[in-house]
């Protein structure tokens, strides 16, 4: 499919981006011909495919030219007469999402098992990986939409086939909810392509479409059709109801990918196809989205506090965290956008790790009810340590990755919408409340019954989650390499917004940004000594107080 298209332009010698889609697809082909009875071969093949893809994505980050704003590694193939082209490229905004996808898939394959029917399970996983990779790299609007939609199918099968409890209902709800929201987006894409068509026929190239001069009514309507699709995917406050069900019933790997990768399709879409294509409308409607984002932060946190199911709690915490990202995007300034991009990665890492941990607890205890757990710190000290670190990262403790993103977002949002930001900060406090409280109830106290005999992490499991722990610490301590790659593209996007929006004045001049980020790095570096060690060893109480 991918190789067949005729090359019209190739900016790099080796088409590295198509490789990221092709390797998982080839793995799917290999899996098809493996005997279903040999679970070990099947898992090995999937692991190999995902690790190779992950390695390529890391190589991509390595060779990514720092300080350049434009798209890199561009490869472009014409794809039939519809104006559709296989146009892939990454910039600072998408680079780390690609890397995140490349890391989360192997990790989730290592850390969880399907328990039955391994062959179709891994087949869907690899298809999901191909689709997610494609979606983050697509610079052709229609191609993006195709990837955006195709990932529903594997996720639907993963939830429905390997999920828990009410899995069929959740799978259907997930599929229909998301599909319904994106149905109108296709009409929007068609309308945009028609209305903004250059002389020589249709195109879905975003860089061309961004030059459109549509009437404000048309672009508002088209933006809304996009925004609905993305809002459901994020999910924003009033349209989030599919998420707790889908997350809770999905198998562990499904939850990890759903939270870590698929939710990012929504926020990434808002950045790439919302802000970039419709700067004027975005800047007009920004207050609405800021309000919805803040509402999501408070609502998600409040509801998470009241959950009795550990996995559901993490699911609602996602609603809150994604609210932060939306807040940062619609702050429409450098800090906000940079913070959002980095927070997308952070959320993927820390929520992914939380889901893995909850999955392990469920495997051992066959329950996720917080009330049925207790005293796990004594029986599984290693797990408690890991859980603490991940939890603190999710709370946003300085020195860990969560802080960097949230701080930047709040900084950016503060200059854009002061009072909303004040409200949003309460989300940080609530996050500490619900996570620490959950930790306290499940890990502290006396261990009784099955809790007393729970197995600790095995070396294999430890090894599996180690990459995520490493990222949590590294990105918290030294976010500079990440920010260096993100910043130029974000600056360019802001410049694009500035030049296209009448009377647009970024809330603070550019200088402040620099100071802000550099200052942040300094703060983070200072926090290095105290934060990391303390978090690893002390468990919940002491570190928690620091967090507050």
């Amino acid at each position: 499919m991918l190789v067949a298209a005729e090359a019209t332009e190739a900016a790099v010698d080796f088409p590295i981006l198509p490789t990221l889609v092709a390797v998982p697809l080839l793995t799917v082909l290999v899996l098809l011909f493996l005997p279903p009875s040999r679970a070990d071969y099947v898992k090995l093949a999937a692991l190999a495919g995902s690790v190779i893809t992950g390695a390529v994505s890391i190589y991509l980050m390595w060779t990514f030219a720092v300080g350049e704003a434009g798209f890199q590694f561009v490869s472009r193939y014409d794809w039939g007469g519809l104006g559709l082209s296989l146009y892939l490229g990454v910039d600072g905004i998408s680079l780390f999402l690609v890397v995140l996808t490349g890391i989360l898939f192997p990790v989730s394959i290592v850390t969880s098992d399907p328990h039955h029917d391994p062959k179709p399970y891994y087949l869907w996983m690899m298809l999901l990986m191909a689709g997610s990779m494609g979606a983050f790299m697509a610079l052709d609007l229609l191609l993006f939409f195709m990837f955006f939609e195709i990932v529903l199918v594997p996720m639907y099968f993963l939830i429905g086939g390997w999920g828990h409890g009410n899995r069929i209902y959740s799978a259907m709800k997930f599929f229909l909810y998301t599909m319904a929201a994106s149905a109108l987006m296709l009409v929007g894409i068609a309308s945009l392509a028609i209305l903004a068509a250059p002389e020589d026929g249709l195109t879905f190239d975003v860089t061309v479409l961004a030059q459109h001069d549509l009437s404000s009514t048309a672009s508002t309507l088209i933006f809304l059709s996009f925004a609905l699709a993305f809002a459901v995917k994020v999910p924003l406050f009033p349209v989030h109801t599919w998420l707790p069900d889908a997350h809770t019933e999905a198998p562990t790997a499904g939850s990890v990918i759903l939270a870590g990768v698929m939710l990012k399709l929504g926020t990434y879409g808002m950045l790439r196809f919302g802000v970039y294509l419709f700067p004027q409308v975005v800047s007009d409607l920004a207050p609405v989205f800021i309000a919805l984002g803040v509402f999501g932060i408070v609502y998600g946190a409040a509801v998470a506090t009241m959950q009795s199911d550990l996995k559901r709690l993490v699911a609602y915490s996602s609603v809150a965290h994604m609210g932060f990202i939306v807040l940062g995007i619609f702050a429409l300034n450098n800090q906000g956008l940079s913070g959002s991009v980095i927070q997308m990665v952070n959320h993927g890492v820390s929520t992914g790790a939380l889901f893995i941990l909850v999955g392990w607890i469920y495997e051992r205890r066959h329950t996720r009810q917080i009330s049925a757990l207790g005293g796990l710190q004594k029986t599984a000290p290693l797990m408690a340590g890991v859980f603490t670190l991940v939890m603190l990262s999710s709370i946003g403790l300085p020195g860990l990755n969560g802080f960097v993103g949230e701080f930047l977002i709040l900084l950016g949002a503060f200059s854009a919408a002061r009072w909303w930001t004040v409200v949003a900060v309460s989300g940080v406090i609530l996050a500490a409340l619900y996570l620490l409280w959950a930790y306290q109830r499940s890990f502290h106290g006396p261990a009784e019954g099955d809790n007393a005999t729970m197995r600790d992490l095995s070396p294999g499991e430890m090894l599996g989650i180690l990459p995520l722990l490493g990222l949590i610490v590294f990105m918290g301590v030294y976010p500079k390499p990440v920010l260096d790659r993100i910043e130029p593209s974000v600056d360019a996007l802001i410049a694009h917004v500035e030049s296209n929006v009448e009377g647009f004045a970024e809330a603070e001049p550019q200088e402040v940004t620099r100071v802000g980020v550099e200052g942040l790095v300094a703060v983070a570096e200072e926090a290095e000594e105290g934060g990391e060690e303390g978090a690893e060893d002390h468990g919940g109480d002491g570190a928690g107080e620091e967090g507050e």
């Binding site: 007469g81 099968f157 086939g161 899995r167 799978a171 149905a183 109108l184 009409v187 068609a190 028609i194």
Partner: protein
């Protein structure tokens, strides 16, 4: 103009014959088949008629290819009554594909149901030739002739499962309602003839403007409009567009499943071909009158088809409603086709718009044919002996007992739902972009929302096949408690295969399913074609463009 060129061609009959060869191959093939098998009864046996039909379809396809390669411009043959252009050829090809695949489905089905005899194949060949006639007709009388040849054969086909009263009932319903629709259609022809003085589409189109000159006061009369309305009803019935869809679920449910595959594909294709021929070629100047009606029919079909499908528990009925939704989508394409004719001044821009609509329609017809034959093909096999196991419960756990069948079905269903990288997505997208191009944004939005509602039904089937618990045991209990089924089974099991050449099915783990190789091959072809059309949009793009251009420009 074109008429003059065509006059020359009529004077040279053999040329006209060769242009008609695909149609003739099927029609004459049917006659030969029934003759041979009457003269030599042993050939009535199971393999021969199927092989004969498949070969006939292949030969027709080969002739079609020849005509296409030698094609230089649209021609009117047989006294201007038939138009041979690339649009006609595309539709013929689509119908030929349907005959080819459905013949393969018939084979295994007839073996399983203990029917022999070539009449199934003969009727299908006849019906297909009628459909081809409709696609080429440039005269309302010929359109009607084609419609009747097409329909009457299908009425009989619907009744051919002699042991199932459902089948008889379906045929009767289809016949009564179909006859009514034909009568209305004929009345429409009469009224149009009354208003314009001709049944030739060219002549009808040429009368436009005579009223202004005082030549033909009837041209804009209510007589003409009533005629147009009645013609639309006739076509609406054939393509099962709401509100003329009432027969569809009942007939689809009762008719033998492979016949439904033919009914849902070839009959609908021919219906749409006839519709655009008559309304674009002949009545194009009246588009301001009929285009809004098409929009209403489209919205009604989309809404009715998608919403009522959700409430069904019989898979055949579900797919019947889904075919109504698909008809709605194709009507949106027809609406877009008409949308380019603003003022009908045939400006360059307008024609380009119409071109997008025509391409969308033609691509949709082909994609839909493949998808629908593929899914009804799976139903044919999964219906098991007696062809009655079509309730949703019967599909429970199909992925365990018949992973191949379930997998093929899943691809077909997701394609129908419009999931990317299948032809279903590109077909829908072409329709949407054509609609947006002609300014019908609301229609496009309604179509997409209906597609989401329709997705519920596809997902329900997939859920039942893949995710329902304890499936197989339940399915067995149900079928085995059915007395009719048990009887048939008992009589069959003793009588083992009598010298089947191309293999009576591989017996799967569930012995009730028999997977005839020909049927599986046909389904497989449909699935592969669906994916190829969806992932390689450049395949056939030139052909499609040519066909669409001929439709739009011939007028």
């Amino acid at each position: 103009m074109i008429g003059l060129i065509a006059q020359d061609f009529v004077a040279v009959p053999e040329v006209a014959w060769s242009l008609l060869s695909p149609l003739l191959v099927l029609a004459i093939g049917g006659i030969i088949l029934i003759t041979i098998t009457s003269v030599a009864p042993p050939l009535r046996g199971r393999g021969f008629p199927a092989a004969f039909t498949i070969v006939a379809a292949a030969v027709a396809g080969w002739f079609l290819r020849d005509i296409w390669i030698d094609f230089d411009e649209p021609q009117l043959i047989v006294g201007d009554a038939l138009a041979i252009d690339r649009f006609t050829l595309w539709v013929w090809g689509t119908i030929g594909v349907a005959v080819f695949l459905v013949a393969a489905l018939f084979d295994g089905y007839l073996r399983r149901e203990r029917f022999d005899g070539p009449e199934w194949y003969v009727l299908m060949l006849m019906s297909a030739s009628g459909g081809m006639l409709m696609a080429a007709a440039q005269d309302l009388i010929l359109t009607f002739l084609g419609l009747e040849i097409l329909s009457i054969a299908v009425y009989v086909l619907a009744a051919l499962h002699l042991r199932r009263t459902d089948s008889q009932e379906a045929a009767f319903k289809y016949f009564v309602l179909g006859a009514l629709a034909s009568a209305l259609f004929l009345y429409g022809i009469a009224l149009v003839y009354g208003a314009t003085g001709s049944t030739s589409l060219n002549a009808i189109a040429a009368t436009r403007g005579e009223n202004a000159l005082g030549l033909n006061p009837l041209e804009d009369s209510s007589m003409m409009l009533a005629g147009i309305a009645l013609l639309l009803i006739g076509f609406g019935f054939k393509v099962s567009a709401a509100p003329f869809h009432m027969w569809t679920p009942d007939v689809y449910e009762g008719s033998p499943t492979p016949v439904v595959a033919f009914m849902a594909s070839a009959v609908k294709v021919a219906g749409f071909a006839g519709l655009v021929r008559v309304f674009w070629d002949g009545l194009g100047f009246y588009h301001a009158d009929w285009r809004p009606v098409i929009s209403i029919l489209a919205i009604a079909s989309l809404v009715v088809g998608s919403f009522l499908a959700v409430a069904q528990t019989n898979v055949k009925r579900m797919l019947a409603y889904s075919s109504i939704t698909h008809a709605g989508f194709m009507l949106v394409a027809v609406e877009a086709l008409a949308g380019g004719s603003e003022g009908f001044a045939a400006t360059g821009e307008g024609l380009l718009r119409s071109l997008a609509g025509a391409e969308a329609l033609l691509f949709y017809l082909l994609a839909y044919t493949l998808m629908t034959i593929g899914s009804f093909g799976v139903l044919t096999v999964a219906g098991r002996r007696g062809d009655a196991a079509h309730s949703l419960d019967d599909y429970r756990g199909l992925s365990r007992s018949q992973p191949l069948l379930a997998g093929l079905m899943a691809v077909m269903l997701f394609a129908q739902a419009g999931v990317p990288f299948t032809s279903g997505f590109l077909a829908k997208f072409r329709v949407i972009i054509a609609a947006a191009d002609s300014g019908s944004y609301i229609l496009a939005g309604v179509a997409m929302l209906a597609a989401v509602v329709a997705a519920v039904l596809y997902l329900r089937v997939v859920v039942t096949m893949y995710m329902a618990d304890s499936g197989v045991a339940v399915a067995h209990a149900i079928t085995e408690s059915d007395p009719d089924d048990a009887d048939v089974d008992a009589s069959i099991e003793t009588d083992s295969d009598t010298g089947d050449v191309d293999a009576d099915g591989v017996v799967g783990p569930d012995h009730e399913y028999r997977l005839p190789r020909t049927a599986v091959a046909a389904i497989f072809i449909a699935v592969v074609a669906t994916i190829v059309l969806g992932t390689m949009p450049w395949v056939g793009q030139g052909v499609l463009r040519g066909a669409a251009a001929d439709l739009v420009l011939l007028r």
